[in-house]
């Protein structure tokens, strides 16, 4: 368990790599002349940015699943809520540049002839408010949902399934055009963010760097949480919940706290994702998406924060490559990967690597073989 110090070796490596990415990408894309072998093509910048956002999302899932045994199959909902909060801000930024040139109403409202802006759109033209909502909207939902669920000790599979229900319900809700979130088309055709045009390469680079910083920040936050006594309690809850109760810990409070925190992280990821992909629509709420996130974590290595990041990057890079190279077969590959990992690498890429490392250390230190390190299943 690498929960001893805030900055263990692994963290340093992760942060170093992130720093490298934050520097290299702008250099390779901005400074290197197009056409030169080292030039990083423009279309890769938002793509990598997207991966980074997904990595942050995966990180948030790993925090609760890997360290507290809470498997949320609805984290896509928090991601999407953060995305919508940002999307609404970007919509309001369009101002009179929409096709109907309505100074206030977004196009889709004019188009379904809404008369005035719904109350919940107020304030989103002001960036600080939007930024606040990016945290609050997912946070509040997670808090309310978690408060109900954890108080009545809904655990394991049941929790996972009602989180699915939650995100599914939200998806249906956001699909409704009457909701005032643009229905199936969602929010799109963004022009600029805090004054900078989204189409400009520079803006993209900045967004990319911001995403990397957010990821690094998120990583450090998670490290800090799990290396504190709080983190030890989380692991205790994961491994022996009732024991923790009998020790006098209010397990539900811990779960609620970490669940809300994780939801906010997901929200931030969503907020950074939207301007880079240029659209947010209800299919982000699709239960399938949330499940996929869990799978990134599983692939990378549950309970090892770095693994979550790794998994997100690997799977999505693979997805990009397959959908381009072997369109007909990428689902086979994706499905196969999930089966393979759960069967043969229950602790994911990084976890397995760690096991090897641990084992060699063990053998080196004492002859007693390490016991199964895999955390007790819920």
């Amino acid at each position: 368990m690498k929960t001893q110090s805030l900055l263990d070796r692994q963290s340093i490596v992760v942060l170093a790599l992130l720093a490298a990415a934050a520097i290299l990408v702008p250099v390779l894309n901005g400074i290197m002349a197009p056409g030169s072998a080292l030039h990083l093509s423009d279309h890769l910048v938002p793509l990598l940015g997207k991966y980074i956002c997904f990595a942050l999302l995966a990180l948030s899932v790993d925090l609760i699943w890997g360290f507290c045994g809470i498997l949320s199959l609805g984290h896509g909902a928090f991601f999407a809520l953060g995305g919508y909060a940002m999307g609404m801000y970007l919509m309001r930024q369009i101002g009179p540049r929409g096709v109907y040139a309505d100074p206030i109403l977004p196009d889709f409202m004019v188009f379904l002839n809404w008369k005035e802006l719904p109350w919940f759109w107020y304030g989103f033209d002001w960036f600080p408010f939007a930024a606040l909502m990016v945290l609050l909207a997912p946070g509040a939902l997670a808090f309310v949902f978690g408060w109900f669920a954890f108080r009545s000790r809904v655990t394991g599979v049941y929790f996972s399934i009602i989180t699915q229900a939650m995100t599914f319900a939200l998806m249906l809700a956001f699909f409704r055009n009457d909701m005032g979130f643009g229905g199936n088309n969602g929010l799109t055709d963004f022009k600029d963010v805090v004054g900078f045009p989204l189409q400009a390469g520079a803006t993209r680079l900045v967004l990319f760097v911001l995403s990397v910083l957010a990821l690094a920040g998120g990583y450090l936050l998670c490290r800090w949480v799990i290396s504190s006594k709080f983190g030890k309690v989380l692991v205790a809850v994961r491994d022996a919940e009732s024991r923790t109760r009998f020790l006098g810990y209010r397990v539900e409070h811990y779960k609620l706290a970490v669940f809300t925190l994780s939801a906010m992280l997901a929200g931030v990821a969503g907020a950074l994702y939207v301007p880079q992909v240029g659209i947010i629509n209800p299919s982000e709420f699709a239960p399938a998406n949330s499940i996929e996130v869990v799978i990134w974590v599983a692939v990378g290595g549950r309970g090892t924060l770095a693994g979550a990041i790794l998994g997100a990057l690997v799977v999505n890079a693979g997805k990009t490559w397959f959908t381009g190279a072997l369109p007909e077969f990428w689902l086979f590959a994706l499905g196969g990967l999930f089966v393979f990992v759960t069967l043969f690498m229950p602790r994911g890429i990084l976890g397995s690597a760690q096991d090897l490392w641990e084992r060699s250390r063990q053998r080196f230190r004492t002859n007693r073989p390490a016991e199964a390190l895999s955390p007790a299943a819920e």
Binding site: V14, D42, H43, L48, L112, S283
Partner: protein
């Protein structure tokens, strides 16, 4: 240990993407071919409709190459799978344009996928041909809409029902997304302008993939048995149609009692249904496989040989791709280059024969002229054209029946503007 691990993987993340680029760039730099992007979902929920369009494009490109290619170069299709995932559409579009350097892209089906790729095409200044009937209210410099605008499908259909079937009561049933919403708004406005009373219009929306239609069909029956002739105008989206029609058949709603005219049900969709109970229900399109013209006969024959399956049907969006592709080819020949700006200028006014015996023209608003056909479903899952417009109908980018857009026009030839306001005489206001 873990150090190497991470770094390796992290590199891979980058290199995987880089790999794509280099792999494709390798061929892109080789200038002997003109690349054509095909952006249709081959997996996910939309694969059901879009896969066919991918095949059509492959066929058309093959045909063109048989004819000696374009500007003396061979055409090469670049197929990608956006997997019914809207952000992925944008990502793939970006890849096609900036990596593969495609000369034009043929793709998208749903409005949301189009909306998602729009900014990309504007930014990278490329060309998209969009082959599906849609809600209108849009005209972009970089997009050519070869599918029907509402005035090329919905309104003629309603007129037909009113005249030929004497319909007085209307059910506007649709899936809850932007195309049905808009179409129904337009129709509602239109019907009211024709003196239909509000109580004679029933509007109902259902979620995507709605599968339990018992209540709604029952409501329709109830609404229909008020003594006045009733018809259903259905903008129900793809997947939900099969259970809808099955329920109609089960509850014995016959076309002679309450005809249903659909705007999103074509030969492909019917291929999934037992059509015997549906005989007489209608669809409004700009093309039917059953249309008997030499062009169409030839096309169908080619299609069946290309797919090596004589059960394969053809449908309206396929024709739209045929027309769009031929227009693009003509425009490129006219401009003598595939440079988007030149092609965009050259293509307006280009005329190509469509498959229903007319000659479609690309209009300054980047929509095309189309005939409107009303067909009744036959037992064999084909349509029997029972009415069609005398000439071709020009597509309106902006509906005259929506207050938001009634003053807007699009003209990329002279005004160079997609949303010119005829009142304020300003572009984009």
């Amino acid at each position: 240990m873990s150090i190497f691990n991470i770094s390796r993987r992290n590199l891979m993340a980058l290199s995987a993407a880089a790999l794509v680029s280099s792999a494709l760039a390798g061929t892109a730099t080789a200038q002997e071919t003109i690349k054509v992007g095909v952006l249709h979902s081959l997996s996910g929920t939309m694969a059901i409709s879009e896969t066919t369009l991918k095949d059509v494009m492959l066929m058309l490109i093959e045909e063109q190459n048989k004819k000696g290619g374009l500007l003396g170069k061979k055409l090469e299709a670049v197929v990608v799978d956006p997997a019914s995932d809207w952000p992925l559409f944008a990502e793939k579009a970006r890849q096609l344009i900036s990596q593969d350097k495609v000369a034009a892209v043929f793709g998208c089906w749903t409005s949301v996928s189009r909306k998602s790729v729009l900014p990309v095409f504007k930014e990278l200044n490329s060309i998209l041909f969009y082959p599906v009937q849609y809600e209108g209210e849009e005209s972009e410099r970089n997009v050519f809409y070869t599918g029907a605008a509402p005035n090329q499908q919905a309104i003629p259909a309603v007129d037909y029902l009113a005249e030929e079937e004497g319909v007085e009561r209307w059910v506007l049933a649709g899936t809850d997304y932007v195309y049905p919403r808009t179409t129904n708004k337009i129709l509602e406005a239109y019907l009211k302008s024709k003196g239909v009373k509000p109580e004679n219009i029933m509007i109902s929306y259902t979620p995507f993939g709605h599968s339990d239609w018992q209540t709604i069909v029952a409501d329709i029956k109830k609404f229909g048995s008020a003594g006045k002739k009733t018809a259903v105008v259905s903008t129900i989206n793809g997947d939900a149609n099969v259970p809808f029609y099955k329920e109609l058949a089960n509850q014995g709603v016959k076309a002679t009692d309450i005809p249903v005219v659909a705007f999103s049900v074509g030969e492909e969709e019917l291929a999934g249904i037992d059509t015997k109970p549906l005989v007489g229900h209608l669809a409004a399109w700009n093309y039917f496989q059953s249309v008997d013209t030499p062009e169409n006969r030839e096309f169908i024959a080619k299609w069946k040989t290309f797919t090596k399956n004589d059960k394969r049907v053809t449908n309206d969006p396929m024709e739209a791709h045929v027309v769009g592709f031929n227009m693009w080819v003509k425009a490129v020949e006219k401009a003598g280059t595939t440079d988007p700006d030149k092609v965009i200028d050259a293509i307006v006014g280009v005329q190509v024969p469509n498959l229903t015996g007319g000659v479609s023209e690309m209009l300054p608003n980047h929509h095309i002229t189309k005939p409107v056909l009303i067909g009744e479903i036959k037992e064999d899952g084909q349509f029997d054209t029972v009415w069609q417009t005398d000439g071709l109908v020009p597509g309106d980018a902006w509906s005259k029946h929506l207050e938001g857009s009634k003053d807007l026009i699009a003209d990329w030839k002279t005004l160079k503007c997609g949303n010119y306001n005829t009142v304020t005489k300003k572009c984009g206001a």
